[in-house]
């Protein structure tokens, strides 16, 4: 039968219309879908050399289309190809996006629409990167809408698979370009990594080649060849036994998930034990465990996977032992892929031990944990990873230039080693490198990837910092031209207009508050001043208090390039000696920053508070302010304490302080939690900018002064925007912690200290934490607070329509509703809150992107992720610097045991805020130890022959030093029991 050729009809407008017909399978149903498809003759080829298309570059309606492909593209000397453009296949874009982004190769590139769509369907992040590349002026990449162009569109043939059809569409495009550009002498080279497609292209006498062949023709091919993605065919060897179980078919997975026999979720692999994963499943109260590499079945921590429960006899307890891949993997030669090594006997023994333990723990159901195995992967979390080549996998005897496989150990310990092929293995040893993961075939013990670039030497400050940013997915590249173009043209000379009645209706709505005695209080050296305050006594004895926040939304208008960049960064990231801004410096540290002595735009919250700090009324207004002084916390404290100061500004500050204490007391009475994290600060030597010493952050009254009013402002704003936008108000919630999170801590407290924390309410929790005191140890209470903090849920941003009002509650602050409003320079949530508040007070209309629920959900999801990543990055940065400090200064410190395993225990050293595992095998040769699980106690004999007992909460002396981890090349703290 002749394939149904879609009818085409020419319209009077000159367009040709045809119909796309296909079957859409969704949720088990199959629907016939028909879509109109218009073909046109006015799509230009984008080549500057082409004269035929010159009339087709119209710029109607703001969409400027211009020829981007160079008139004289680069030429290949080594072959007879000469000047050429390249047209990339989908597999090349997906596999070699890093290469596409590099500035040493790939200029004048055509991406057919078919490729763009395929990329979009397969990977949204790569699509976004590709689209960003198309915007860059120097790469000269053009998207050619081949499926809409009547010269390149072909109908699908009967029984042609969608892949074959797409390949044919792409080849047709390549062929069109070849003919079209003939007169210009420029060739079009079609690059594909698909063997069949390449053969077809060559048969159609196109200039086609594989990526490797093309790179091979370039003058700088040596350095580029390393960057190529691995092709599966490179590695497939006959006779290799299948190692990992195959994934189930999609229909089996979907059917299973639907009928509840399979579960889907995000797998989290323990960073202590790379062979132990867990996954939260809605139908189970506790996470399901996935143990061993066969059951983990090639999943990466963070992947969305489908799992099947294992039979009851395979259920386990969580591993109390720490398993490293290093201790398990015997064969280190990457080319020698021993099929038996995946499930080593040692792993089996460990698993068996656990199984035995599970059985001996009797019928106590609580002590047995169900386990499962991964049977499918719905979504990979693959990104670029930082790591370094495992020196052991580099064969030193081989000649240096041969391309061979080596293993890259990733910095994230929960991830497996990645095998890459490189000819420069020897040069790369000892460097931090970035790699991309390409695939993980079932017959490979490790995933395949390729080298992307080198960051620098291991332990080099800049390399480590960049590694850290990459690992936490923090965008740290300078702001693009598009973004910078959104800034005021006047730059640093921008000023608040002198004449407030200059006819600008927005300006007229601002309240002039320049006569108020406003000041800011921040950490010393702060340049991005988000907030300022004032207070004065009213004739009726009440107080007028104002919180003034930098008016970022005046400069960052919704949906502009700068707004999109801010939304995508979500937050500024603070590292020990570096700040990654959410918004360009000009705004953060100058135009928005509420610097003293100059006029600035602000968004003000004004309250009338009574003597007891109760709100009598509240109003919101855009304003103009002039800060009288920018204080550091300590400065402010001194000024308040200095009784000789009697000016109105100081008086105002004293009112603020007095009111803030009342506010704090009220919060505490309501059950606000005073939690702790071991926060430390690294002092930098100002000359060498080497880290000098570590100090625990000191808190002054003035810290809490600012904090209280910021909380109050946030709460007031939250109420207002929720009133105005009940569906989409940008809020922040903190759920109460589930009982289960506290089980272990409570058990430890009960057994070791005969204490308990109560979870009945936040008030009860706060009170019970207050009662956890050891009269002999002042730090003990703080320790419990630190441990309790880790059991809490993390707070999250949300759009108000997604939860019922009762669930808005912020548990830690003990308030019913909360948002972030006070730091718009460094948090995107605050920017959204500003815009919503501005709309709520009728200052300006609210952009669609903050009124549309689905768009808000995306914003919220992103800023939650960014917020988390920023926290982790900040912590990692401190950890790194603490390590550097200790490198030069080993010392004897006090530490606390916070966790006990059968083969080691974890100690926290408050002075440095570090914690580390002390393994049993470093303490005793014999390995003989008794682990009393019920009492969280480990008894062993030291090498000196002395019997020692270590239990949770013990205060012990440890020697603190910093060592370079052989595996991850990360400097980490090592603690040695003294």
């Amino acid at each position: 039968m002749e394939g149904a050729v879609a009818k085409r009809k020419v319209l009077s407008s000159g367009l040709t219309v045809s119909q796309k017909v296909f079957v859409r399978s969704r949720n088990g149903n199959a629907s016939k879908i028909v879509r109109e498809h218009y073909l046109r003759d006015d799509i230009p080829c984008f080549s500057q050399a082409c004269t035929q298309c010159s009339e087709l570059y119209q710029s109607d309606n703001g969409t400027v289309i211009s020829a981007v492909l160079s008139e004289s593209p680069s030429s290949l000397q080594s072959s007879n190809i000469g000047r050429h453009y390249v047209l990339l296949d989908t597999n090349v874009v997906l596999g070699a996006i890093d290469l596409l982004e590099s500035d040493s190769v790939f200029f004048d590139v055509v991406i057919p629409q078919t490729v763009l769509n395929e990329v979009r369907n397969k990977s949204l992040p790569i699509y976004t990167r590709l689209r960003a590349l198309c915007k860059s002026d120097d790469k000269r990449i053009a998207v050619f809408h081949n499926e809409f162009s009547s010269s390149t569109f072909v109908s699908r043939r009967s029984a042609e698979t969608i892949n074959d059809y797409n390949d044919r569409l792409i080849r047709t495009t390549a062929s069109f370009y070849s003919d079209h550009l003939k007169s210009t002498g420029i060739k079009m080279i079609y690059i594909t990594n698909d063997k069949n497609n390449l053969e077809l292209a060559l048969a159609e006498s196109l200039d086609a080649m594989s990526l490797e062949a093309y790179i091979g023709l370039l003058p700088n091919s040596q350095e580029l060849l390393d960057l190529l993605p691995t092709l599966r065919t490179d590695f497939s060897r006959s006779g290799t036994k299948l190692k990992f179980p195959d994934y189930y078919s999609t229909s089996r997975l979907l059917g299973g998930i639907k009928n509840g026999t399979l579960y889907q979720g995000i797998i989290n692999i323990s960073s202590y034990n790379s062979l132990e994963g867990s996954i939260s499943v809605s139908s189970l109260p506790k996470p399901l465990l996935i143990l061993g590499s066969e059951n983990l079945n090639r999943s990466f921590s963070g992947d969305t996977v489908v799992i099947e429960m294992l039979p009851r006899d395979k259920w386990k307890k969580p591993s109390n032992d720490i398993v490293d891949e290093e201790t398990l993997g015997s064969s280190e030669n990457a080319d020698n892929d021993d099929p038996e090594s995946v499930i080593s006997d040692r792993e089996r023994r460990l698993l068996t031990q656990e199984a035995v333990k599970a059985q001996t723990s009797g019928n106590d159901d609580d002590r047995v944990f169900p386990t499962g195995k991964v049977v499918g992967i719905s979504k990979r979390s693959w990104r670029s990873y930082v790591g370094q080549i495992s020196a052991r996998s580099v064969d030193k005897t081989q000649s240096s230039n041969a391309t061979r496989s080596v293993f890259v150990i990733l910095m994230d310990r929960s991830l497996p080693k990645v095998r890459i092929r490189t000819g420069r293995a020897k040069d790369l040893v000892g460097k931090r490198i970035v790699v991309s993961v390409d695939s993980w075939p079932a017959n490979m013990s490790h995933p395949e990837g390729h080298y992307v670039r080198t960051l620098g030497d291991v332990e080099d400050k800049d390399a480590e910092q960049e590694a850290l940013l990459l690992e936490h997915d923090v965008e740290y590249r300078p702001f693009s031209k598009n973004v910078l173009e959104c800034l005021p043209k006047e730059g640093h000379d921008w000023k608040v207009p002198e004449d407030l009645n200059n006819g600008d209706p927005q300006l007229a709505k601002r309240k002039d508050l320049r006569h108020k005695l406003i000041c800011s209080i921040d950490p010393p050296g702060c340049v991005d001043i988000d907030d300022a305050l004032h207070a004065e006594k009213l004739p009726n004895g009440n107080f007028e208090v104002g919180v003034h926040i930098a008016d970022v939304s005046h400069f960052v208008k919704a949906n502009t390039a700068i707004d999109q960049e801010g939304a995508s960064r979500g937050t500024s990231v603070y590292l020990v000696d570096k700040r990654i801004d959410m918004l360009p410096m000009l705004l953060g540290t100058d135009l928005c920053s509420l610097k003293p002595y100059v006029d600035r735009f602000a968004f003000s919250v004004l309250w009338e508070l009574d003597q007891d700090a109760n709100i009598v009324n509240v109003s919101f207004t855009k304003s103009i302010i002039k800060s009288r002084e920018a204080f550091a916390y300590e400065q402010a404290q001194n000024r308040i304490d200095d009784e000789s100061q009697k000016d109105d500004l100081t008086k105002g500050m004293r009112y603020l302080l007095a009111l803030s204490k009342k506010l704090k007391q009220k919060r505490m009475d309501a059950g606000a939690l005073n939690l702790s994290s071991p926060e430390v600060k690294v002092h930098m030597d100002s000359e060498t900018s080497d880290p000098g010493e570590v100090e625990i952050k000191k808190l002054l009254d003035t810290n809490s002064l600012v904090e209280e009013f910021m909380l109050l402002a946030n709460i007031s704003v939250a109420r207002k925007i929720f009133d105005a936008f009940p569906q989409v108000a940008m809020l922040r919630r903190h759920a109460s912690p589930p009982q289960a999170n506290f089980e272990q801590l409570n058990e430890m407290l009960r057994v070791r200290k005969n204490m308990a924390v109560s979870l009945e309410s936040s008030k009860a929790l706060a009170d019970s934490l207050d009662r956890c005191v050891d009269p002999n140890d002042a730090y003990f209470n703080t320790l419990i607070r630190i441990m309790a903090t880790r059991c809490m849920m993390s707070a999250e941003y949300f759009a108000s329509g997604n939860y019922s009002y009762n669930d808005f509650r912020h548990y830690g602050l003990a308030v019913d509703i909360y948002t972030h409003f006070t730091s718009p320079i460094r948090r995107y949530c605050d920017v959204v809150a500003h815009r919503q508040l501005a709309a709520a007070i009728n200052y300006e209309p609210l952009s669609i992107i903050h009124r549309d629920k689905t768009k808000m959900d995306l914003v919220v999801k992103n800023i939650n992720k960014r917020h988390r990543n920023a926290q982790f990055a900040g912590r990692a940065s401190i950890e790194y610097y603490v390590g550097q400090v200790m490198k030069n200064a080993e010392s004897l410190e006090e530490g606390y045991v916070i966790k006990v395993f059968s083969n080691g225990f974890v100690v926290l050293v408050p002075k440095f805020g570090v914690e580390s595992l002390i393994k049993l095998n470093t303490l005793t040769q014999s390995g003989a130890a008794k682990f009393d699980e019920e009492n969280f106690k480990l008894t062993f004999t030291t090498e000196a022959g002395e019997e020692r007992e270590i239990a949770v909460f013990d205060r012990i002396k440890v020697q603190v030093k910093s060592v370079l981890d052989e595996m991850t090349s990360k400097r980490k703290t090592q603690l040695v029991l003294v």
Partner: protein, 246 residues
């Protein structure tokens, strides 16, 4: 993020049109000569609407009879198979009733009703396939069928939808995918004027972009009026020729 590039940086929409292009518009007048007094069939992209007009005729109910002017009833029925997922709407479906009311209001002003005292004009619309622009296609079909029935009208009412992409670019004549993604409005334009007989804005069109959306919608309606006019005149010529032959 949408599964589609609703409007690509190269200036093309999901179906290959540019921002200011209408979809395929095809119409037939007098499609059902034996079973109605006036009839039409309109395809706007893959939206297909059939319209039958009965009347002017004597009303069956007294309440429909007015000495001052004729009365108009518009019934819209969206067939259960019009959408991808079969959807049988009850006869009192709110949205459909609203649609009927909007059409009745619009054509009450477009028909010279004072010419038809004590008479009833009944418009029945059947929506056979739906791919965006429901109200627009119904309006255009009604205009044509009323003309076919020889009912005096002040002028054409031509209609089309327009939406706004990213608060920046107005897009003309949306299909279902676009309607789901964008805020949009439907206009009905009187003849070649810039006056609106109909404006329906469901949601999400910011006031700042209203002007440009309206401008493109009016231009699009004019284009549709032209296409309808060509069809009407062709039919007229054909009919005159036929009469002359007799």
């Amino acid at each position: 993020m949408s599964r589609f590039e609703i409007y690509s940086p190269e200036g093309l929409r999901v179906d290959g049109r540019r921002w200011n292009e209408i979809r395929r518009f095809e119409c037939r007048i007098n499609s059902h000569p034996t079973s109605s007094d006036g009839s039409s069939y309109v395809e706007q992209g893959n939206t297909k609407v059939l319209c039958l007009v009965q009347g002017p005729m004597e009303p069956a109910l007294r309440s429909q009879s007015s000495t001052a002017q004729g009365s108009l009833i518009v019934n819209v029925s969206v067939t259960p198979f019009a959408t991808v997922e079969r959807n049988k709407r009850p006869r009192n479906d709110r949205r459909i009733q609203e649609l009927s009311a909007t059409l009745t209001r619009t054509f009450n002003k477009a028909i010279v009703l004072k010419n038809y005292p004590r008479s009833l004009i009944q418009v029945n619309l059947q929506v056979l396939a739906l791919d965006g622009g429901l109200l627009a296609a119904c309006t255009n079909a009604t205009t044509l069928a009323l003309m076919d029935a020889g009912i005096s009208m002040y002028d054409y009412i031509s209609s089309v939808t327009a939406g706004i992409f990213d608060g920046q670019t107005p897009l003309l004549d949306l299909n279902t995918i676009e309607e789901n993604e964008l805020g949009f409005l439907t206009v009905g334009v009187i003849g070649e004027s810039e006056k609106l007989a109909l404006l329906l804005m469901e949601d999400r069109v910011g006031m700042d972009s209203l002007e440009k959306v309206l401008a493109i919608a009016i231009a699009g309606s004019h284009r549709i009026r032209e296409l309808m006019d060509i069809q009407v005149r062709n039919y007229g010529k054909h009919k005159v020729a036929k009469l002359a032959n007799q």
